[in-house]
Symmetry: C2
Amino acid sequence: MNLEQMGQAARAAAYTLADTPTRAKNDALLAMAEALEASTAAILAANARDLDAARAAGINEAMLDRLMLNPARLKAIADDVRSVVRLPDPVGAELDSRVLENGMRLSRRRVPLGVVGVIYEARPNVTIDIAALCLKTGNASILRGGRETFHTNQELVKVIQQALAVSRLPAGCVQYIGEPGREWVSGLLRLDKYVDMIIPRGGPGLHQLCKEQSTIPVIIGGFGISHTFVDDSADLVRAIEVIDNAKTHRPSACNALDTLLVHRAVAAELLPRLSERMAAKGVELVADEEALALLQSGAAKVRPAAEGDFDTEWLSLTLGVKLVADVDEALAHLRDYNASHSDAILTNRLASAERFINGAPSAAVYVNASTRFTDGAQFGLGAEVAVSTQKLHARGPMGLEELTSYKWIGQADYLIRQ
Amino acid sequence: MNLEQMGQAARAAAYTLADTPTRAKNDALLAMAEALEASTAAILAANARDLDAARAAGINEAMLDRLMLNPARLKAIADDVRSVVRLPDPVGAELDSRVLENGMRLSRRRVPLGVVGVIYEARPNVTIDIAALCLKTGNASILRGGRETFHTNQELVKVIQQALAVSRLPAGCVQYIGEPGREWVSGLLRLDKYVDMIIPRGGPGLHQLCKEQSTIPVIIGGFGISHTFVDDSADLVRAIEVIDNAKTHRPSACNALDTLLVHRAVAAELLPRLSERMAAKGVELVADEEALALLQSGAAKVRPAAEGDFDTEWLSLTLGVKLVADVDEALAHLRDYNASHSDAILTNRLASAERFINGAPSAAVYVNASTRFTDGAQFGLGAEVAVSTQKLHARGPMGLEELTSYKWIGQADYLIRQ
């Protein structure tokens, strides 16, 4: 099939899905979970081929681990699908309803978006994850995975198609672009006649490509420098625990702490102790001139910050440190250095907390908490489609509701406009 | 100023506006309304220059009328600004708030989008209208009007700047790109570092340009073929009133009826009468083969539909007519012919109404009402920023809330993630 045909099939399937009751969608998801487990051998064999190819291409261990499936991981993926079954279906809810002066009952009803295009890299669990979330919300999906997981994805798509077939849902509900070649990505990004939203799940390069080329609305997200500002009123003993957690709990996560901003009045007290803790956790510090000497009195490895360091999302055991005069200077730093994801203030002063909440340009702003909480599961959304750092449609962790739109419904008695 | 500088100024102003209380924003709006009336002579003189240039360029009367300002129209524009003052400010509202199991209070708070870029044609009232709506919602705006209104807009922008100055708000709150040249439009569309949303207000060509070139999210809207389907259970006498209203109340509007779909079972009864009514209203009918003979028995001017007629948004006293077998065939027609704006069913049967509501791919779906109701004022939104036909962020008439985003706020007691 070419892209035009895939678009047509997706659009037709989306019309069917929009009118499919929750129970039928859930039955298809349960069938998918079962088929995943029943196909374990075939999926793992395909995955082994991908892993061999990746090793031959000299891909590093961290990446290999992301590609790798085993029975336990497959079981976890199937269980995730069963969790999606248990989530409430957002489609059909009435958002608001009122009677206008002219007697028309006007309401807004939640409906699926239609067709969602997803472009992603590496992790094969995304294939099942996104297919399941789209199916639950009545959206058709067109998936394009990375070439590193080509064989695995082929098997996963077979499983999805089996589940759709036994559930009598159209094959167009979930389609996969298996052909290599960037032109398929470019083509998908311009399929605005059929596709309502593009979700890129991958690095900044992929997001930039989508932003540049897409004629379809794109959800941009997953990046941004994360900051924590320690106010002069903060409890410094507990502040160190929060900083430690934000930096070292999972350094490769996009909500891990990148830059620590410290109120100058408490720097002499905080930084030597912080240096000890960071040394114990193997964190290297990258400090501005003022912070440098204070940190060097502790045991941590410290180097002076160079151009670009405060613009860096480390994704590793490195932490930028900078002194500021007050909350306003901290906010100015956030604005200058691309804060858009997760940022925190540690303070015991109400006015500082309010000022930071209002002034931070971030999708998620924390008072006295680790930045690591920005996550669909942590927020109780049940599922996470993506983490948006743009301001339209959805911001921060996106759950099922963010895969829907609404339509206006006006009901009356042969009403004409005066 | 170049675009980069304008973007920086807008971003800085947006930070100020995000923290400006409602009363200060309202004071600036009232100052704007007063300055508009005080500057009537200068604005009308500038408008006269634009009208002279337009006449010299041979622009038609309808377009000249759209360009033209007079004291009454200026007064109306100033009064519209005063109406915006009276609307509730959506910024700051808490959308939801709950305490997570770990003790964190998590809420979402409504915030301005930031910087809104607006590209528009002709009507000079858009300059004031959009500037006022953006200011009310705490957004900075960068405006680019059409060259037909160059002089008028220069004066209007002076008025806006006066109002900002007396209200001690930054000049960057509302900026206007006065320079000619398409490169300024292209540049604005790629200013994603500073601009959060693009709203095109103009014809399909402008929307297509924005969709193609913008790296910033664009609100697409204002077009789409509007349909009305007359079911076999409809009250035909009252149906004719609704069809007449939808077609002739304001034929140039985007929610005016384009194509009438008629259930075959009632065509012989409805169409001759419809033909009489349309003849009386000067509407030309464009009919498929089956409808043609039935319509020709009435007095209306009728021609057979040709390729593309059912794809045409008439914006004039022309109406397409086609017979269908049932509500499903009507829905299939809607899907094939770009229904995305406003569509109606006229029926007395509940099941047909529900089927049409669920199946129509439109932003606004009506049961027994004229399609002419799709409008911010009719819907009671207080103001209309645009009518979106896309499904992300906003669909249908957009009010003040659709000029906002939200941020997540997590408050806790030095909480770390387990």
